[in-house]
Symmetry: C3
Subunit: 206 residues, 3 copies
Amino acid sequence: MFGFIPKDEKFFQLFKEMTKNIIEGAKLLKDMLDNFENPFESQRKIKDVEHKGDSITHEIIQKLNKTFITPLDREDIYSLASKLDDIIDLIDASAQRVIMYNVDSITPEAKSLGFIILQSCLAVDKAVSMLGKRSNEQIFELCVEINALENEADRVSREAISRLFDEEKDPIQLIKWKEIYETLETTTDKCEDAANILESVVVKNA
Amino acid sequence: MFGFIPKDEKFFQLFKEMTKNIIEGAKLLKDMLDNFENPFESQRKIKDVEHKGDSITHEIIQKLNKTFITPLDREDIYSLASKLDDIIDLIDASAQRVIMYNVDSITPEAKSLGFIILQSCLAVDKAVSMLGKRSNEQIFELCVEINALENEADRVSREAISRLFDEEKDPIQLIKWKEIYETLETTTDKCEDAANILESVVVKNA
Amino acid sequence: MFGFIPKDEKFFQLFKEMTKNIIEGAKLLKDMLDNFENPFESQRKIKDVEHKGDSITHEIIQKLNKTFITPLDREDIYSLASKLDDIIDLIDASAQRVIMYNVDSITPEAKSLGFIILQSCLAVDKAVSMLGKRSNEQIFELCVEINALENEADRVSREAISRLFDEEKDPIQLIKWKEIYETLETTTDKCEDAANILESVVVKNA
């Protein structure tokens, strides 16, 4: 698809840097939820990763502003960068909620969501790596996978919230956990948004 | 407007299938809220309709990937399909909230919202039918109508939530109903998002 | 950048009208939060400003529909108009929440958010004024500023919500204030969305 524009691989490299950074954030979040030993430190590291994400996004936009011929439509490069940035923002927001709401321990459902988020980020990274490589079918398959992961996160979060309403009698605890589940679930929505951009880029250039 | 591209009516047919499916979902939701006799069965049927929506969306994207000349810009076909899919997702999410929160009966405001959602979906269906038919003015009018319905849903949901805060002393019940109203109201937001895409498509091709 | 298309300044004028109107709304909101003397009247005035915003948006879309050559891509004019409209909608939604939840007094954090919202709207207005004027660098700088203001609003709102969970024992009060903070914070998100469109327009036309 983009085979006839060999140069300016730099954008693809920057996108790869971005998704590698996202994976790092997702691993830190999963570890924070699984072990919950030093949540403050985990959150601080995730915040650093989020700042790094901001710099890469900024670099992409600066580069876009200086590049005459781009390997994808300018607006698609822009949209993809924004959507990838949203993923790391939500990973950070999830970690923040856990700290801010001062929870004692992590529920099994929150751990499951941490796992699904990492799977989803790994799939986003794979799909991004295939941009510019005539691998439309694989990108589509990865988008289907990201969609399925989002559905699964939705199901887990819905069941967790359902259980919360059955079991939690303290409304303030209920509010806290409901929002933690929703923020974690929204992270997979953001992966799906990125997948949608990837899908539309592939469709447009098919 | 698109009169000079007579073939590939298939996309318009698929969009029509999509909006017919949305109408079916909206009717099931309205009926569920109005009668509330067998909410579990209603919710199951809505879930089936939502799955059918996913298949049609998938078919549109597959077709997009295989079609060289499209009757609208590729990215607009893609966006419209996504936004229509969001409508049926929110109809499903609304039904799910009602089941998940295990409510005893349906408030008048929720019934009103069910009615407005159906009206809005009917208008989306009409506007979609007019795509490719040189009927820009009618599409604009329908978009204005969809906007007005969204404003009305917003007003009803705001008043319902206001009443909730005045009357409901149990915070957990309050949280449940607040979210049911908000999810119903968001369904009309999604109709408005679809109308915005329709409007921008018409503007772009004017 | 757009220097070679001198006519049809009318769109830029309409965008200016739009941002002037947004500033008026933001000033009314800030004043409402700072003084809280006649909140009902403030809210009524903000609602009028919001209606005026709707008319300007409508005028832009009508004009778009009748104009053959536009100074920016049709879809960008459309998106920018929509995003600017979202800002005033959220200013209105914030004022509505304050009235609807019948609060007694305004917290310092809500006042800070009112201040940040006004700053952010002023920056959006400046950036919009520079469209079509070969001032890409300044537009980028203003977008960075709008981003920084959104981060600051996010921090203030997060700390306010954190304090709420520490101090507020009445869950219903907590729900009210949490939503007021979130709605105020979302207003700055909408400014950032508008900045993102501006940035992508500049990038696309660079």
